[in-house]
């Protein structure tokens, strides 16, 4: 089938970008979306042009590298699917598509469809962990964990850190990402001792990095390729509020919105 692509081309962070139109004949319906871009890039390379830069690695929907906007939707039109797992059978012959990078103040563009998501790492650094040095762990079965808690924690922990929630949010909030970690660790007895401090530090860091506030729009949940739920954000609000009461000094600035 034939697909028309309009792709955001931008040489680097300091150059202006623009949409460039490409026509691809012979797109196979069993190809993944990224394999279609591979074909385009092979063509561009043979013509001596600069191939389109896009982030990708595992191509199994788990590493969280890939992601850009297809017709305004992060990861494209299929629910619960990263763009690397999106196959061309979901498109029609002759479709015209617009590909743009994830846009958010906290995700500066690097090149073409690639953005810098290192703010996510800095948020995790601020408290998205359990402080336990190697070697000091108790016997694994010594603390029973309710199956429901383990299952819910796993639902939240399924987040792949792709950033689609930020791109979908009208406020470019990272609340879904941040709350997924707060819920994952907060639901487990092992995460309980640092629960308040974690919520406080991560939320403040999110604000500092330039992400917006959550206004319960729900776009994040709708596009999350891993089905991470907005209920985590409710947990985050609760934990943050409690933490503010406990840590008055640290909590002078910022909030969850």
């Amino acid at each position: 089938m034939k697909i028309i692509l309009n792709i955001w081309r931008q040489k680097n962070a300091s150059s202006p970008g623009r949409m460039v139109r490409y026509e691809l004949d012979n797109v196979n319906e069993h190809m993944s979306f990224l394999e279609m871009l591979d074909v385009l890039n092979e063509e561009l390379t043979r013509k001596g042009e600069d191939p389109v830069a896009f982030e990708h690695d595992c191509r199994e929907g788990i590493c969280g590298c890939c992601g850009f906007m297809i017709n305004g939707i992060p990861h494209g039109p299929e629910r619960g699917t990263t763009v690397c797992q999106l196959h061309m059978r979901h498109f029609q012959d002759g479709d015209e598509l617009w590909l743009e990078p994830f846009r958010a103040k906290a995700f500066p563009i690097i090149k073409d469809l690639m953005v810098d998501r290192s703010a996510f790492d800095r948020i995790i650094s601020a408290g998205g962990y359990i402080s336990i040095n190697t070697g000091s762990a108790p016997e694994a079965n010594s603390i029973p964990v309710k199956k429901q808690c383990a299952d819910r924690a796993m639902d939240a922990a399924a987040c792949i850190g792709c950033g689609a929630c930020v791109a979908a949010c009208p406020n470019a909030s990272a609340s879904l990402f941040v709350s997924a970690k707060i819920a994952h660790l907060g639901l487990l007895p092992q995460g309980e001792p640092e629960r308040d401090r974690r919520a406080l530090r991560m939320v403040l860091k999110m604000t500092e990095e330039g992400f917006g506030y959550c206004t319960n729009t729900g776009e994040c949940e709708a596009i999350c390729p891993k089905g991470v739920k907005i209920e985590n954000i409710a947990m985050m609000h609760r934990d943050f509020t409690r933490a503010v009461a406990l840590f008055r000094e640290e909590a002078k600035v910022g909030g969850t919105g």
């Binding site: 595992c58 590493c63 000091s136 016997e139 796993m154 399924a158 995460g191």
Partner: protein
């Protein structure tokens, strides 16, 4: 100059070797640790766990990864689980049994002492991960759940749905980020190691390229750890992530690190078959599916009926028929080869007859759809997304694909390579899995190396050297940096007619055809002729667009493929020289009457350790004999 291969296996009975080794190790005092700097290349399970733990101990650590975040390393894609000899199921498991299963699964081509230690620390890994908040599957009583995996008759695999690797990696990543916050680890994401620097016979640093700006930098340290994963992408199509590469270990090899058993590659039996020429990678379906899925082909050759129309008595559940004791849970190498044999004989299904069925009908009838969904839901979804078929109602089609490399840089019991100060962890080293890795053992090994072994052996090494005393103005650093810059310039100056992928695909075809699931002398000789020709053509005719001082993904790929074009040749050479079949290395000339791998313990009960002898010169094959003091060498039988 031949290597002196000292394995440094401690004395004493098997169960006491690690204790004895730890007792005899030298220590660096807490106040002195911050004077030492360590580079960790790679941020997967092995790299992240090592960097975090060494940071916790107080060393100065720099950690490097090519991805935009350490959380994306390919350990994240491991699905099924992690083994540990906890014996929570009371089904007869023990450290000894995990050790024995691993040695036997590896077809008696691994070191006893290493494997025993691995089994021993496996239990600590689970404790550590649970304490970090890894959400392992649990029973209603609140205890940890287990499942069984190939090559074992006990349930010792811990899992977090079909995303165990992801959860373990996030645990290690979070521990790493905690050390970043504490200022003990400095993280260099989007940096690729392009060379190792050896000064006065010791590994003292690396040269990296910043993948965003193109800047080439030197990093000086007291020790270097490579935890850069395997080299399965030599085959172009594999289950590895697209960026997985061998450049770090290959550069180290060319600087004097021995390469152990390069031909030992694992072809995983349950992957989604290739659908076309544009295919960029193959997707694994976890081995855990073989717990409940039954593998079969039609009894009639070339049967084109819909699988649901083929009645029970016309199906050949060939693994259950051939290996009644283990059935669908026989080890990976055996399951893969059996699939190949069935397809070669004309029983294969799907396009080109390159596929077999993995069927859940019986399990769904027995356990109900809900249970199957709970166990494998995300894998079924992934299958449906890729193929457009619903595995709850139509059997999956699967075919073997390159998955893991047991070979890698040779290391001693301390995980140190033949270059003092260069340590190699995880899949990047050759140890522990012999000629075939059992399922759920890669995660175990990566974390064992990083959390529980390197912190001891690194301290022992550093305690014997003075910290610092060197900077990047040293002639060796300047030379290495210049070599990297020249190579980059060369790649960009060719401007030939073929793309990097053209060469990579062609190399992959040669490797899959002649150095894949079955190998023979004439095929390997042919490959050994073809690969150098292809390499020559690459350096004459590759087209790498763009420049070196910017983000340039084509340049990144070109450097990696240039190294694959050399490593592929070494793999074929190793496969040719190893005139026996063992585990994943199946030489057609060496098989039993019923087509099983036939080892030659007289001649090949050893590790082949290859030594770089200079450009254009044949590498030297050294040997580390494997002494089995505690287990009997036996022909593997899963019948």
């Amino acid at each position: 100059m031949a290597f002196r291969l000292e394995s440094r296996i401690p004395s004493g009975p098997l169960e006491q070797k690690w204790e004895n080794a730890k007792r005899d190790m030298k220590l660096v005092s807490p106040a002195n640790r911050r004077k030492y700097s360590i580079l960790v290349v790679g941020s997967g399970l092995a790299g992240a766990s090592a960097a975090a733990t060494l940071g916790e101990l107080g060393y100065n650590v720099k950690c490097f990864c090519y991805q935009d975040s350490p959380r994306r390393a390919h350990s994240i894609a491991a699905q099924g689980g992690i083994n540990a000899a906890k014996n929570y199921q009371n089904d007869g498991d023990s450290v000894y049994r995990l050790f024995y299963d691993t040695i036997k699964g590896g077809d008696f081509r691994a070191r006893e002492a290493n494997v025993y230690r691995l089994a021993e620390v496996s239990v600590n890994i689970i404790d550590q991960c649970v304490a970090q908040g890894v959400p392992f599957a649990r029973e209603y009583g609140g205890t940890l759940a287990n499942r069984s995996f190939g090559g074992a008759q006990v349930s010792r695999t811990f899992y977090a749905r079909g995303q165990t690797g992801q959860q373990l990696l996030l645990g290690a990543y979070q521990a790493l980020q905690r050390q970043v916050d504490a200022g003990r680890v400095k993280m260099f994401a989007r940096h690729e190691m392009l060379d190792l620097v050896v000064v006065d016979g010791r590994a003292r640093g690396i040269v990296t390229r910043n993948l965003v700006t193109g800047a080439i930098d030197c990093h000086v340290a007291d020790a270097v750890i490579l935890a850069t994963g395997g080299y399965g992408n030599v085959f172009y199509l594999s289950t590895n992530a697209k960026g997985c590469n061998a450049t770090a270990i290959w550069r180290a090899y060319k600087r004097g690190a021995g390469f152990g058993n390069p031909c030992f590659t694992q072809i995983h039996p349950t992957c989604i078959p290739q659908s076309g020429d544009y295919q960029s990678k193959l997707t694994l379906m976890s081995e855990s599916l073989r717990n409940d899925g039954r593998i079969w082909v039609p009894k009639k050759k070339g049967d084109t009926r819909h699988p649901n129309d083929i009645p029970e008595e016309e199906r050949d559940y060939y693994l259950e028929r051939m290996y009644p004791a283990y059935g669908n849970l026989c080890p990976r190498d055996i399951a893969s080869r059996a699939a190949k044999v069935m397809c070669d004989q004309g029983y294969g299904v799907g396009p080109g007859g390159r596929g077999v069925y993995l069927d859940f009908r019986e399990a769904i009838q027995r356990l109900g759809r809900n249970t199957i969904e709970e166990r494998y839901g995300n894998l079924f979804e992934m299958y449906e997304r890729i193929t457009g078929e619903d595995p709850y109602t139509v059997p999956m089609r699967i075919y073997p694909a390159v998955h893991y490399t047991m070979g890698g840089l040779w290391v001693d019991y301390h995980l140190m390579s033949t270059i003092p100060g260069l340590f190699v962890l995880g899949e990047a080293n050759f140890s522990d899995h012999g000629a075939n890795r059992l399922g759920a053992s890669a995660l175990m090994q990566g974390l064992a190396d990083g959390y529980f072994i390197i912190p001891y052996t690194m301290g022992h090494f550093l305690a014997q050297v003075k910290p610092g005393g060197l900077d990047e103005s040293h002639p060796e650093f300047r030379a290495a940096r210049q070599a990297v810059e020249e190579r980059t310039k060369k790649l960009l100056s060719i401007r030939g007619k073929k793309t990097v992928d053209d060469f990579h695909r062609e190399l992959g075809r040669i490797m899959w055809e002649y150095c894949g699931m079955a190998r023979n002398a004439s095929g390997l000789k042919h490959a050994l002729q073809r690969i150098p020709e292809l390499r020559e053509e690459f350096w004459q005719n590759v087209n790498v667009p763009g420049s070196g001082d910017e983000m340039n993904q084509s340049l990144e790929k070109a450097g990696r493929v240039a190294d694959f074009l050399e490593l592929g040749e070494l793999m074929c050479l190793d496969a040719l020289e190893r005139e026996e079949s063992c585990g994943g290395h199946f030489r057609e000339e060496h098989q039993t009457e019923d087509g099983e791998a036939k080892r030659d313990d007289e001649r090949f009960c050893h590790v082949a350790v290859w030594e770089f002898a200079g450009e254009g010169k044949p590498p030297v094959r050294n040997v580390e004999p494997l002494n089995f003091e505690f287990v009997h060498l036996a022909q593997r039988s899963y019948k």
